[in-house]
């Protein structure tokens, strides 16, 4: 028997053999709704992604503005403190 026929016969036998443990397959409806939920979560995650990206940018911009304001107001503050 050549290799190909030997392997083909063996594979046919294996495909026909009943596995020692059977599958525990869930109902298709369960998978359908699970996939719908995953789709919805994925869409929500994609929709909120720009907000999440912008959050650290906002914090840095806020801190930079506060620092600039402080620098700008420093001479006036010093003047006020010396008057006091």
């Amino acid at each position: 028997m050549d290799d190909d026929r030997l392997v083909a016969t063996f594979m046919r036998e294996l495909a026909d053999a009943r596995p020692v443990i059977g599958p525990q397959l869930v109902e298709p409806g369960v998978l359908w709704w699970k996939a719908q939920l995953l789709r919805r979560w994925d869409a929500e995650r994609r929709a909120t992604a720009p907000i999440e990206v912008m959050e650290p940018v906002q914090i840095v911009a806020g801190l930079a503005t506060a620092a600039l304001l402080l620098l700008w107001a420093l001479p006036s503050l010093k003047h006020l403190l010396t008057l006091g």
Partner: protein
């Protein structure tokens, strides 16, 4: 072709799930892994844009997804095994029931060889489909299949279990 509806999916699932499970089970050798991976593969198929595909193409897509998941699981298992060996931990003893000699012989092949032979002989996929499913070059499929056949023949000859 319109969007896949729930009843259409149900019909497709009932016609495909068992074949996919048997493929995954024969490649991984673990029924619990096969249960998980089949569920995951169907969820990924539904999450992907497969509305334009017919049932035959969806089936091919599903086997491709499952093959990728099997490869990922195997790589993770190998990393875990190597970590356990380095840490000197003993692997928990397997409680898997004893399989048939045919299945044991098949289990002695490498996972990729098992997948190759299954897709070629049971699913009767073309070399192109096998290449896509296993993430190998189309030209390599013929060589890999020849090696897998030779290895299986050697196992059958030496073990004489079949």
């Amino acid at each position: 072709m319109g969007a896949l509806t729930e009843p259409q999916f149900g019909e497709f699932y009932r016609g495909t799930a068992r074949a996919l499970w048997t493929y995954v089970y024969r490649v991984t050798g673990n029924a619990a892994d096969a249960d998980d991976l089949v569920q995951d593969a169907f969820c990924r198929m539904l999450a992907a844009d497969v509305d334009a595909l017919n049932d035959e193409d969806r089936r091919r897509y599903l086997f491709r997804v499952a093959s990728n998941l099997v490869a990922d699981r195997w790589r993770r298992g190998e990393r875990e095994r190597s970590w356990r060996e380095r840490a000197g931990l003993v692997k928990p003893s397997s409680t898997a029931p004893v399989d048939t000699p045919t299945a044991l012989t098949f289990g002695a092949l490498k996972p990729q060889q098992r997948a190759l032979l299954w897709l070629a002989y049971v699913e009767e996929n073309s070399h192109e489909d096998i290449a896509a499913a296993l993430g190998v070059k189309r030209g390599s499929v013929k060589v890999l299949l020849a090696r897998a056949r030779a290895r299986l023949k050697a196992l059958l000859t030496t073990k004489a279990v079949w």
